[in-house]
Assembly symmetry: C2
Homo-oligomer: 83 residues x 2
Amino acid sequence: MSKYMDVHHGMKGITADQLQEAHRRDLAIEAEEGVHFERAWADPNSGTVYCLSEAPSADAVKRVHAQAGHPVTEVHPVPLTIE
Amino acid sequence: MSKYMDVHHGMKGITADQLQEAHRRDLAIEAEEGVHFERAWADPNSGTVYCLSEAPSADAVKRVHAQAGHPVTEVHPVPLTIE
């Protein structure tokens, strides 16, 4: 298991409720892939959303996000963390 | 005060010790700008570092990082958070 930071673009105007709902959809199915989405941050002005997860692979992160309806292409492993 | 995510590039090969030292240099001077760097994540392979802060402005984040020796151009406000 490793930490991953993934980045969504094109989410301009996303609201707090929409972010919560998207996160809820990830949580509902993440166990199938052994992923856990821990945190998320969104900038409605630029349409950027960052998600931090613990996952077995970047592909597992992509599969959960895709199945939850918000596919992502940019997934970076972040093995070094200060939290 | 708002949350900001800033992104450094070109840090290929960064080690855990170097990340800790960079974070320590931020913490040592951040109060001058009213900034607090809360978390950081690094991918040594791609050379990407993400820093999460609470700050009065993006410019304040940039000034602290620049003075600490690791200037950044990409600073995104992230007013929506799930933590």
